[in-house]
């Protein structure tokens, strides 16, 4: 079980609990605004862009090559950027805060 907090663009804080699947799926299930997951979670659309709270990067690890490539020309991307379809919900993620970019 992991508690994950999304902070939307309009500063709404949504904390949800999950046990498995991707963070994108968890966000979509809970209707988190700004996480669309149009491609269904295969890192093809970049509509699940989040920035990991700077204090929590140890919980998420670093972005994979394909995530970095997909975000390379995105003006809103920074070193904390992730495509959350590539983040799995695990115990290690408990307490993480993710800022939704769109």
């Amino acid at each position: 079980m992991a508690k994950i907090t999304f902070v939307t663009k309009d500063n709404q804080e949504i904390t949800v609990e999950g046990t498995s699947g991707s963070v994108m799926e968890l966000a979509v299930k809970n209707n988190v605004k700004g996480i669309d997951g149009d491609c269904g979670g295969v890192c093809s659309c970049a509509t699940c862009h989040v920035q990991v709270d700077a204090a929590h990067t140890d919980k998420t690890g670093v972005a994979s090559e394909i995530e970095q490539d997909m975000l390379e020309l995105d003006d809103d991307a920074n070193e904390y950027s992730r495509l959350c379809c590539q983040l799995q919900v695990t115990e290690a993620m408990d307490g993480v805060v993710l800022n939704v970019v769109k």
Partner: protein, 417 residues
């Protein structure tokens, strides 16, 4: 003034994204959706890929959760069919006899698989298209119970090839029969066809081209024999039909809408009737970048048209002018495509210097970059997208030279002084 009612026919990528976008745009009236598919609206692309091979339930694959529809006050009517529309009184008629009035009507009716007129196909055993969750559960059920698992896939397009890859993974013996001289002939360059042909052959899937299926004979034990016009024949315990789609336009016809290769819509996705819109696979629309009328079968097209329609209904005008993009996953290979390659005159293939398979195919007409197909190379895909969108000219020599570090600035044509 009474509350406005927006009725959506079709609850897949286009219809569902439209409904949520309309709320996001601030529409306060009623939003009512209908679909004859009884399953909570789901992602379609995974049906031939991850969803087919994985042991997940369709709910894990939903576009939006059940609660999301309640939260946004969107009424979802599943398992019912709209059978008629009355233009003058602005109401739809359902197959259960009920009626519903509308102020705005959205036709997100999509397309249905073509079942070709092959003699014996209708009588053959275990024949499935691949379009709906129901199709996939039929296929899964067959695989879990069949003793002999020989599959013939008719059609070497993306659906056929993705399904072949998934079925191979699931332990079946797969033969793909393609009518054209090469697979993916309609949508991609010969170099890509060759790549996918080899990819499947290496995985022990037989891809046979120039195979025109003539008839199917089914014996008493339910084994089908697929007969081709060149005299060859293939035994099949299951047949997958993946030869393309027909658009669903019967309701559009009832409204006398203008129809060509789909329902004709303007830049705001309006049909020839002002308060009737069409979005998704069923639309024939103008692409301002390629200056061409096109019909697309893709998630991108469905989602982006949905957003344009939602904006137009509340008076926030934006036009549909997205550069089309697509993807396909087969085995461990990820193909990402951007643009439309039709009419290309020159191809540049750029192979990255890596051990793993990683390359991209760039389609040009003169100096204009039309499209990019990227294999395991998201960077090529995003760079290609940028150049196409911004109408920037690429320095072809630098593109060909793999030692050029792959960044837009390094590929830009230096302007002559």
């Amino acid at each position: 003034m009474s509350e406005k009612v927006c009725v959506i026919i079709g609850a897949s990528h286009a219809g569902v994204n439209f409904a949520f976008s309309l709320r996001k745009e601030g529409f306060e009236g009623k939003i009512i959706m209908y679909d004859k598919d009884p399953v909570l609206p789901y992602h379609r692309p995974p049906l031939s890929k991850a969803y087919l091979t994985a042991d997940t339930s369709i709910e894990d694959n939903c576009l939006k959760s059940k609660d999301s529809y309640l939260d946004e006050n969107i009424t979802l009517n599943l398992g019912v069919e709209v059978i008629d529309i009355h233009k003058e009184s602005q109401k739809i008629i359902l197959n259960n006899g009920e009626e519903q009035h509308y102020n705005y009507l959205i036709l997100a009716t999509g397309a249905r698989p073509i079942i070709p007129p092959i003699s014996g196909l209708k009588e053959a055993k275990h024949v499935y298209p691949l379009r709906t969750a129901g199709d996939v559960s039929n296929i899964k059920k067959w695989i879990s119970t069949a003793d002999s698992k020989r599959v013939v896939v008719i059609g070497g397009g993306y659906i056929g090839l993705e399904t072949a890859a998934s079925l191979k993974k699931m332990g079946t013996h797969v033969v793909v029969l393609e009518r054209e001289e090469r697979i993916l002939a309609r949508v991609t360059a010969p170099v890509m066809s060759e790549f996918f042909q080899k990819l499947h052959t290496d995985k022990d899937v037989d891809i046979l081209t120039s195979k025109n299926v003539e008839s199917i004979n089914t014996d008493e034990e339910g084994v089908n024999t697929v007969q081709c016009s060149d005299g060859s024949s293939y035994a099949a315990d299951m047949i997958i039909v993946g030869v393309g789609v027909n658009v669903n336009v019967s309701l559009a016809k009832k409204l006398n809408l203008e129809i060509e290769n789909g329902i004709k819509v303007n830049e705001y996705t309006q049909t020839s009737l002002q308060n009737v819109y069409a979005i998704g696979d069923n639309t024939y629309h103008y692409n301002p970048h390629y200056k061409n009328w096109i019909r697309l079968e893709s998630v991108q097209n469905a989602v982006d048209q949905a957003k344009v329609t939602a904006a137009h209904i509340v008076g926030n005008e934006k036009i549909y002018d997205t550069i089309p993009w697509f993807w396909s996953d087969q085995y461990d290979v990820k193909l990402q495509m951007v643009g439309l390659s039709q009419g290309y005159e020159e191809l540049i293939v750029r192979k990255e210097e890596t051990e793993s398979i990683k390359f991209s195919v760039w389609y040009f007409k003169g100096d204009e970059l039309l499209a990019v197909d990227a294999i395991n190379n998201a960077k090529a895909y995003v760079i290609g997208t940028k150049f196409i969108k911004e109408n920037k000219v690429i320095d072809k020599d630098k593109l060909k030279d793999v030692t050029t570090i792959f960044k837009p600035a390094n590929l830009m044509m230096k302007e002559e002084v």
